[in-house]
């Protein structure tokens, strides 16, 4: 497993690795068979087969409308597929599976509460005992560089701080799998760098990352495996190095060369 590009500058927080009950088996591997999603007669994702067994950074790339966001939502169980099956170590993506995952959206959804309360809310939802919530929230805030604004209202933070808080909230619940949907699409390079450092640190603690991005620089910096989607289909799956050296599929080559628009 290659060390992630940004790990060197990542904050080094005192955050325990994903905590599993001794009896609970891991939720990986993921097995997706014949996954399809259509709405209003349009097929948006079709015949998608995918296995993920390792805790690397899997980047989902492809042009706008390729089905990246949709695929993340299907895997996380926010949407029900119209065809095929998703199994997390045999289980469908129900509430119990979601409790061991987390997702960060392109536009961070922050509660109208303080920064700290946004974290303790998520921890409470995940059944973390009250006395532990505060401590864990503080540790993650440190790692996200948000300790100074812990008491501020979350929604008056800058865009970069808001997304860092959203990532921190996902981090705090110690997910085994973390989905990120274009987490830095609206951020400037400095803010993007900070979010990428956090993602690398989360990955280093043994969380599997599934990151949808159209930022090829980001895909190169973070990606260890590339899943190339085009028109709702998985066209290519390779190690990141191999993909960026030369995609096997014509569509992949066209996309990397900037010639594939939709």
């Amino acid at each position: 497993m290659a060390p992630s590009a940004a790990a060197g500058s990542a904050p080094v927080p005192e955050i325990a690795a994903p905590r599993r009950a001794a009896t609970a088996p891991p939720i990986l591997p993921l097995a997706v068979r014949g996954l399809g999603y259509s709405a209003d007669g349009a097929s948006l994702v079709s015949d998608l087969n995918l296995d993920i067994a390792d805790t690397r950074v899997h980047v989902l790339v492809g042009p706008n409308g390729a089905g990246k966001s949709l695929t993340l939502r299907l895997l996380h169980g926010l949407l029900a597929p119209t065809a095929g099956t998703i199994r997390w170590n045999g289980a469908p993506p129900d509430r119990r599976v979601r409790l061991r995952q987390a997702m960060v959206f392109q536009k961070p959804v922050l509660l109208r509460r303080s920064v700290l309360a946004n974290l303790t809310y998520a921890l409470r939802a995940h059944g973390v005992p009250r006395r532990e919530r505060h401590q864990r929230a503080r540790a993650v805030l440190d790692a996200a560089g948000l300790s100074a604004v812990a008491g501020r209202a979350a929604r008056v933070l800058s865009g970069g701080e808001q997304q860092r808080l959203a990532v921190a909230r996902a981090w705090a619940v110690h997910p085994e799998v973390l989905f990120l949907d274009e987490p830095t699409a609206n951020l400037d390079p400095a803010a993007t760098r900070m979010v990428e450092d956090m993602i690398a640190a989360i990955r280093d603690q043994g969380t599997a990352i599934v990151l949808a991005t159209h930022d090829m620089g980001q895909a190169r910096r973070l990606g260890e495996e590339v899943l190339f989607l085009h028109r709702g289909r998985l066209r290519e799956r390779s190690d990141a190095a191999a993909f960026f050296a030369g995609p096997q599929s014509p569509a992949g080559r066209a996309y990397l060369a900037g010639r594939l628009l939709a």
């Binding site: 409790l99 997702m103 109208r112 939802a125 995940h126 209202a153 008056v156």
Partner: protein, 235 residues
């Protein structure tokens, strides 16, 4: 014009002297309307939130009805409550007619649709924004609804204040079910109606001034609240 000036003079004398009769009337008004708003909040907040979050057949009809009930004429509401509570009515045994309790019921009926309809709108907007995040966090539905109500607290307080404004200023319902009995069910609005017809303009105008002041205060509070909400939470 002299009458007018004299009436104002009387009015301010009564207010400044803290006339016990005037205070009793104002006190009962506040007690009845605040209790009614509290009851309306207990019913309207969860009802509005449920309508915002759950999809079920006939939901559209319920929403239209609720919005229509916001404009329910108070005298009609009063008449219906009167029929329910009168000796021969289905709830006659409770003996509530011509008591403050009946007035609370009537005002609750008037205020609940306002609270529920405004809650539905507020919570529906928040729900559209929060839904995926809350499901991602595996928050159960009941907790999600509590979260939506709490995060909409500034808008919802505004809804409650709007409901209070309607309750405290309303005369038609309370005069029918309360009967405007001296020292028992006489509130500001019913007293104004009665004293005006008796020509006792000082007391009527004094109460009018207090009502107007309350209306201004309520609106100032609404504006202040939405400013606080906007500044501290971007909501």
């Amino acid at each position: 014009m002299d009458d007018f000036g004299a009436a104002f003079g009387d009015a301010f004398r009564l207010i400044l002297a803290a006339d016990p009769e005037l205070l009793a009337i104002v006190g009962l008004s506040l007690r009845v309307s605040l209790t009614a708003v509290a009851c309306a909040a207990l019913i309207g907040l969860p009802l509005g939130a449920l309508l915002a979050v759950y999809r079920f057949p006939g939901r559209g009809v319920v929403v239209v009805l609720l919005n229509a009930l916001m404009g329910l004429p108070p005298v009609v509401a009063g008449l219906l409550i009167y029929l329910l509570l009168s000796r021969a009515g289905p709830l006659g045994e409770l003996g509530l007619l011509f008591t403050p309790g009946a007035m609370v019921i009537a005002q609750t009926v008037l205020v609940t649709p306002i609270v529920a309809a405004l809650t539905r709108q507020t919570v529906a907007d928040l729900f559209a924004e929060y839904d995926e995040q809350l499901r991602s966090l595996a928050v159960p539905r009941a907790s999600a609804i509590a979260t939506l109500i709490w995060d909409g607290r500034y808008s919802l307080l505004t809804a409650l204040l709007a409901g209070f404004g309607r309750a405290i200023a309303e005369v038609g319902a309370v005069i029918i079910v309360g009967g405007n009995i001296n020292h028992v069910t006489r509130v500001m609005t019913t007293t104004i109606a009665l004293e005006t017809s008796k020509g006792n303009l000082g007391l009527a105008l004094g109460l009018g001034v207090i009502l107007l002041t309350l209306a201004v205060a309520v609106n100032a509070a609404v504006m202040g609240l939405s400013n606080v909400g906007a500044q501290s939470h971007g909501a």
